[in-house]
């Protein structure tokens, strides 16, 4: 029982009357958060250094004569801390009034309105009336390059942006110039932030509307957006994101913190590459080739006829899948293929240069520019084609057996793709020229319209949730293929939910048997390592 040396040292303090025990060295602001107390702050950010300069987070610690900045002060044993005492409130009110001295109050035209910490704190704790009679300082705005626009007059000089570029991006593009109330954030050279892949993170970090995204400029009001937790589909890193939507359109993508994957950050490539999710002209009903032309039919007709055709088929099966498809889609297709006698399948993936984030090196814009390459590989689909994500399907194009296409648009495929096939099944979103040859065209949803999981480069399986309405009769591919599977296999059950589809993946995907859907949570879980599959992304 003498083994106490390894236990982390803890201290116990009282915050607003609540006693809490935290590890020694915990910042007061973090301890307060653990106690459920939000201490207003601007300059502090958990993933950046704490310069203690906004002076918003001052709290009263009994027996300490001056107010203590809770972002740099650590908790000592027996501290009695008051965040709502008269002294602390008066200090915060004073600081908020100081911010108002030069703030333009242009909330009606400011993109940050509705998610602005200045607005929030002023309305919660600020003075009811301003006492300023003096003319305000006017600095105007500046194009910082990249996607970033700077409204100097709204700035609260928290320097989060400067510190992000210095400490995390490790590419010092920003600095504070001048001093006193003339101090302003500025770029060093003409190019500004241009060319830095991580610059848009400073827009997220900015607590006010000083740094805004050009892409999002005046596009939507924050309170009109619906926010859905998701996973960035644009590379195999699998950054946790929120899809922010309005009127059934993705308006922007924002990172969602996950210390194991992307901390608080994401790259500009992933963030700004969302227009494809909003693409229209979707297939909205199942189509069946009847007498040389497609006829729209009901799902039950389409799937009954397809099951009949498959049951009779003895031909070899080839598949082309998309690395943007969910694990559930890919795994259910693999189960279908196994049922009809096995078959090979390929996926094509665009690749590019890998770009790490120096301050959080496990976060990279990955070579593979699709979310679920690891998932496709886990279900035994193999890579084909070139670095631009095209080619590699010539042998499938002329295949004279059964062809399954899942999610791949076949945009580069020859116009006679699949014309020699005995059965060509196309499960996807867009009716490309090649897809028009299919005997069965089954409309499926994108990741943004369904529930499911992706497997990232670290083999971490992460959930996403539906953010957009499904177009027409489109359904998640796992559901379409799951119903089909139940039609051709006696053991298979129709999956009613993504969780049920996931639960059936263990039979066909290495490691999936060891994961429960409910265990994935919002942060995901890494697939258990299995023998030769032990190599993973760093």
């Amino acid at each position: 029982m003498a083994e106490t040396s390894n236990a982390p040292e803890t201290v116990t303090c009282t915050i607003d009357g609540m006693e809490i025990t935290v590890p020694k060295g915990t910042r007061i602001i973090d301890a307060a958060a653990m106690a459920g107390v939000d201490v207003p702050h601007y300059c502090y950010h958990p993933s950046l250094s704490a310069p203690a300069q906004c002076r918003m987070c001052l709290v009263e610690v009994e027996k300490v004569p001056k107010l203590v900045p809770s972002c740099s002060g650590t908790v000592a044993d027996g501290n009695v801390i008051h965040t709502q005492s008269e002294k602390a409130l008066q200090a915060r009110e004073g600081v908020l009034e100081f911010y108002m001295v030069n703030h333009p109050l242009d909330c009606p035209v400011c993109d940050q309105a509705g998610e602005c910490k200045l607005q929030d704190y002023i309305s919660a704790e600020g003075p009811a009336m301003g006492r300023g009679k003096e003319p305000k300082r006017v600095l105007g705005r500046d194009d910082f390059g990249g996607d970033v626009l700077f409204y100097a007059d709204r700035c609260v000089m928290c320097t989060r942006c400067v510190r992000f570029m210095r400490e995390v991006a490790q590419d010092e593009r920003l600095t504070v110039v001048q001093r006193g109330s003339r101090a302003v954030i500025d770029t060093f050279f003409e190019e500004g932030l241009e060319g830095n892949l991580w610059a848009d993170n400073i827009v997220d970090l900015c607590p006010v509307g000083a740094l805004v995204s050009k892409d999002f400029l005046h596009k939507a009001r924050a309170w009109d957006l619906d926010r859905t937790p998701s996973v960035c589909p644009n590379c195999s890193q699998g950054c946790n994101v929120r899809l922010e939507t309005r009127d059934n359109q993705v308006m922007r993508i924002k990172p969602r913190p996950n210390a194991e994957v992307n901390d608080h950050w994401m790259c500009d490539y992933g963030r700004l590459n969302y227009e494809w999710i909003n693409r229209g002209a979707r297939i909205e009903a199942p189509l069946v080739m009847d007498g040389g032309r497609h006829v729209s039919v009901s799902w039950s007709q389409a799937l009954t006829r397809l099951a009949d055709a498959l049951r009779d088929s003895t031909a070899g099966v080839r598949a082309v899948v998309s690395p943007f498809a969910a694990n559930e889609d890919l795994g259910t297709l693999r189960r279908v293929l196994e049922t009809v006698g096995g078959g090979t399948g390929v996926f094509r993936c665009e690749t590019g240069e890998e770009v790490p984030l120096p301050g959080f090196p496990t976060l990279k814009l990955r070579t593979d520019r699709a979310a679920n390459v690891a998932g496709a590989e886990a279900f035994a689909f193999t890579r084909a084609g070139g670095t631009d994500g095209t080619g590699g399907i010539d042998d499938v194009a002329g295949h004279d057996g059964v062809i399954f296409v899942l999610g791949d648009e076949l945009a580069d495929a020859p116009a006679d793709f699949g014309s020699r096939a005995t059965l060509f099944v196309y499960v996807g979103q867009f009716l490309s020229p090649a897809a028009r040859n299919a005997h069965f065209v089954l409309p499926s949803t994108t990741f943004a319209e369904m529930e499911g999981t992706f497997t990232n480069v670290q083999r971490r399986v992460q959930r996403f949730w539906p953010a957009l309405q499904v177009p027409g009769m489109a359904r998640p591919a796992w559901q379409v293929l799951g119903v089909l599977l139940a039609g051709i296999s006696e053991d298979a059950q129709v999956p009613g939910t993504a969780a049920e589809a996931f639960a059936a993946l263990g039979a066909v995907g290495a490691g999936f048997a060891g994961l429960g859907y409910d265990d994935l949570g919002a942060m995901g879980r890494v697939l258990p390592q299995l023998g030769a599959l032990a190599e993973a992304g760093d």
């Binding site: 004073g94 600081v95 100081f98 003096e134």
Partner: protein, 429 residues
């Protein structure tokens, strides 16, 4: 005729050789007993040097008055890490010009002080961070350091005693905030001159994040005297808690502005009326700033006090760095305060919100009042701004800006109200 003016009541210890150009040379300095103190210190135990300075009660002359020996004793015992001594020669407090004179006339005295201080704290490198505008003083210091290196009094094996102490002169660029010790360290390292959050204090993490002692020019020179002559000798002057002599810089409405060295505890009234000769016009004194622009103002009736840390504190002000600014009854206090607050608004580094916004806001209000456009609630607003920026920031610049505002409103409210009279425009004409 000696150094501009020497008054018989002065006790000239540090300023003894002011006005003697030969004292600037190594030869001339040694002829005046120079480098004995440094030689003696380097032959003593390092801890004995610290103890002697501690025993003397010498308090830092940069403004805060923290005991020099105690500051040195906070330095960690020698570890593998390098230690640094940094001499704060930025002297930027408005009204202060004592360090400039010390360096102009007795540069080798400072080098001695650096050797004593560096030796005491195990530092092998001493920096002199000198204010950018002090061009003449910097040239004189540079020449003296060169001479010291040539004579083997600096660099490797100082005095042949096996101690290495390098001395580097570093010119600032003229920012007030770089006189704040951690702002100075950032500037010395090539960063923006922004004060650092304390703790950690410089004794733990100072220059280049290594243990560092930052001392004022006058403190270091006084420490050398203490080591040479002993703590008891030094304590013959001053009061019980404010020992020794101090240089006071006098400017404003006095007959004889300049530097005067008197023992601490000297009567302030006698100092102004006798040593400095009172006002040139013979008009009554309206206000005195006793310790540099950052300290609360005294009225002309509050001068019968001792010039020491305790007596000044009891009078509600501070001895600061000993910069006395005298104003006679022709002075418009509002204009003076506005001028000072303008200075702080200009010099605020801009890190902390209360200082960055508060100083500028207060300056704008004061300018409006000065121009006769004051409004009845302005004084209340000024007092609240002062309250909201006092004790709430990383360094004390905003406290310094608040001090003249609050003390002047308290003591010279009439001056403000006169400008807010019903027809202020007529009054101003």
């Amino acid at each position: 005729m000696a150094y501009p003016y020497i008054h018989p009541s002065e006790t000239r210890v540090l300023s003894k050789h002011f006005g003697e150009p030969e004292a600037r040379t190594l030869k001339g300095w040694e002829a005046r007993g120079g480098y004995e103190a440094a030689r003696k210190a380097l032959s003593m135990e390092r801890s004995a040097v610290v103890d002697e300075v501690k025993a003397s009660g010498l308090r830092g002359r940069g403004g805060a008055g923290f005991p020099t020996g105690v500051k040195w004793s906070f330095m960690p015992k020698k570890t593998d890490k390098p230690h640094f001594l940094v001499c704060n020669a930025d002297e930027s407090e408005p009204g202060t010009f004592k360090d400039r004179e010390l360096m102009r006339w007795t540069p080798h005295a400072l080098i001695e002080g650096l050797l004593v201080g560096a030796y005491a704290i195990h530092a092998e490198h001493a920096y002199v961070y000198i204010r950018g505008e002090f061009f003449e003083a910097a040239q004189i210091m540079a020449r003296a350091i060169e001479e010291a290196y040539e004579a083997g009094y600096a660099g490797k094996n100082v005095f042949g005693l096996g101690v290495d102490i390098d001395i580097t002169l570093h010119l600032g660029a003229g920012a007030y905030i770089c006189g704040e010790e951690t702002g100075l360290l950032n500037s010395l390292e090539g960063r923006r001159g922004e004060p650092r959050m304390k703790p950690p204090f410089p004794a733990i993490s100072g220059a280049f994040r290594f243990p560092t002692a930052v001392n004022n020019v006058e403190s270091l020179i006084a420490a050398a005297h203490v080591v040479l002559n002993g703590a008891a000798w030094y304590k013959q002057w001053g009061t019980e808690k404010s020992t020794g002599t101090k240089l006071f810089c006098v400017s404003g409405h006095v007959k004889r502005p300049g530097n005067y060295e008197v023992p601490l505890g000297f009567n302030f009234k006698e100092f102004i009326y006798d040593v400095c000769g009172g006002t040139p016009s013979g008009r009554p004194i309206k206000a005195v700033i006793p310790g540099g622009s950052s300290v609360p103002i005294l009225t002309g009736d509050e001068l019968d006090i001792g010039m020491d840390y305790e007596a000044m504190a009891a009078a509600g002000t501070m001895l600061g760095c000993g910069s006395v600014i005298v104003m006679d009854d022709t002075t418009n206090i509002v204009k003076q305060v506005r001028r000072m607050v303008d200075f702080y608004a200009h010099e605020s580094c801009g890190q902390c919100t209360p200082c960055r916004e508060g100083t500028t806001w207060a300056a704008k209000i004061l300018r409006r009042i000065e121009n006769g456009r004051g409004q009845p609630d302005d004084l209340e607003t000024l007092l609240q701004i002062s309250e909201n920026m006092s004790g709430k920031t990383i360094c004390v610049l905003s406290d310094a800006a608040a001090a003249p505002i609050t003390s002047s409103i308290e003591k010279f409210r009439g001056d403000y109200e006169a400008l807010m009279a019903p027809v202020p425009a007529l009054a101003a004409r």
